[in-house]
Amino acid sequence: MEPLVIRGREALGKVTFIEHDNTEHVTEFEAGSTLMQVAVDNAIPGIDGDCGGECACGTCHMIVADEWFDKTGDTPGDDEEQMLSMTPERAKTSRLGCQIKTTEAMDGIIVYLPEFQM
């Protein structure tokens, strides 16, 4: 899939989203966005992001590839931890995509998407 230009800001790097059936989507991301917004902007199946990034819905669960987890910044905050606690496909590197701000260090990041959102 061709990378799409997003909200008209400068691209910072690339992210690969891998759906539960192994379909890959490579897209560009820009500064000041979140991985949830990047996925939603590009209509990647498997991410809903229903609350628009308020950490209020739990429908933007992503599993960061082990080797990239450190690059996503902080470990989940307490709210995020609680929001993830019931996620059926919970993994060690699970995050809410809306709580991961994109940075240059994330260029090349690989993220797995669950089959179901909450």
């Binding site: 209509a43 229903d50 606690s85």
Partner: protein, 410 residues
């Protein structure tokens, strides 16, 4: 029978439901051409920030858009914005637009949303009286939110209260006038109402309950200067926000002879009485298998869930609407998350202590959990999403005992 020919699918309305439908159709690689007709000049955007961080000025316009326009266009779909659908000709399967153009449809999806309920009282047309429904309203209100001004909010529902929180933080003198005996009465129980009442009063908002508004007073330039109360008093005001609810936007459907009953009537597949016309979002009175009775909802969750149901229906899948409704509201440092509908409960169980700023209310009916309101307690909301959907029978002792792990109840 589902029509598999490649006809154009037209979506009328450019709000959250319409945007979510476009998204789902993109994700599912829907093969028909889709044309969205929206009266606002904006591509589909989210309204929740209009009373929260967008009103506060913390986030910009582009963060409201569900997607950049280019994404829809890359997929070959069209957005026709700034245009109103004026009439549906169901025999010819044509809609007439405000620029006199016509559009032929194979399937038509109505996502016309709602309009605000206006206060019908003397002086209601004065300058300085605001309503809050779209981006332009939020922009107009933000311009007026200057420190020291007196803002009077008519209606203590969640939108009015979110604006109160935003405005008091900006240094305005804020008064909330609520006709009922408690805040957010329509959507929540007394514990949550009391918690938010205390929160707003602590922040310096003057909240008046049991206070009905009967009119407005003007200054000598036809600007609002005060709000007159049924009990005889007047509250001086520089700015007024009237936030007393919405009405479903059904005029187009009604004129086309589609069944309406305080909302366009649709079944659990989002189908109206006409097999080629669907309707989704705030404008519908709909079946949701989760409920016995048809419902009308005003929430993002309903807009997106019905949009996903409609996408499935358009693609010939058998996926009825079957979901527990959920909702959130942000006021100050408090996030309220709700799941289910609490209004028919016969028992309430509180977990945690409201004084700690983090607690939940569980609403039961005949021993089954029907709704949860969680205040800064996301775990209770997430567990609630599961238990409420299953209408699980749970022990009230376990729910209220903070030593019992909520997860163990699922």
């Amino acid at each position: 029978m589902v029509n598999t020919q490649k006809e154009t699918t037209v979506i009328v309305g450019g709000g959250h439901a319409a945007g979510a439908l476009m998204t789902t159709l993109l994700q599912k690689k829907y093969q028909n051409e889709v044309v969205l007709v929206g009266e606002e000049i904006h591509p589909p955007y989210q309204r929740p920030p209009l009373s929260k961080n967008y009103l506060a000025g913390d986030v910009g316009q582009d963060s409201l858009y569900l997607k950049p326009c280019s994404v829809y266009e890359v997929a070959g779909h069209q957005l026709r914005l700034g245009l109103r659908a004026e009439q549906i000709d169901r025999d010819k399967k044509i809609i007439r637009l405000s620029d006199q153009d016509t559009l032929k449809y194979g399937r038509l999806v109505l996502a016309t949303g709602s309009h605000v309920r206006r206060l019908n009282a003397p002086g209601a047309d004065l300058k300085g009286i605001h309503y809050l429904h779209d981006m332009a309203d939020s922009d107009a209100l933000r311009e007026q939110l200057l420190p020291g001004k007196r803002l009077v909010i008519v209606g203590g529902g969640y939108i009015g209260l979110e604006v109160a929180a935003t405005a008091v933080k900006k240094g305005l003198n804020v008064t909330v006038l609520e006709a009922a005996e408690r805040l957010m009465q329509r959507v929540t129980g007394p514990e949550i109402s009391s918690f938010f009442l205390a929160k707003h009063r602590d922040a310096g908002v003057d909240v008046c309950l049991n206070t009905a508004v009967i009119g407005f007073e003007a200054d000598n330039q036809d600007r609002v200067a005060g709000v007159t109360l049924e009990n005889g008093g007047t509250v001086p005001a520089d700015i007024v926000l009237v936030s007393i609810g919405i009405m479903p936007e059904t005029a187009l459907a009604e004129a086309a002879g589609l069944p309406c009953d305080d909302g366009i009537v649709v079944d659990e597949y989002t189908c109206t009485g006409d097999p080629d016309i669907l309707a989704i979002g705030d404008c519908t009175r709909h079946r949701n298998l989760f409920f016995e009775q048809p419902q009308r909802m005003e929430s993002v969750a309903n807009a997106v869930d019905q949009a996903r149901t409609a996408a499935a229906t358009l693609m010939g899948e058998d996926k009825p609407y079957d979901a527990a409704p959920w909702f959130w509201s942000n006021q100050y440092d408090v996030r309220l998350q709700m799941v289910g509908l609490s209004k028919d409960h016969d028992q309430r169980v509180v977990r945690g202590n409201p004084r700690d700023g983090s607690f939940a209310v569980f609403y039961m009916r005949e021993g089954h959990l029907i709704a949860v309101d969680a205040v800064n307690l996301p775990m209770a909301f997430m567990v609630g999403k599961k238990l409420v959907y299953l209408r699980k029978r749970v022990s009230s002792e376990a729910l209220s005992d903070v030593d019992v792990d909520l997860k163990s109840l699922v």
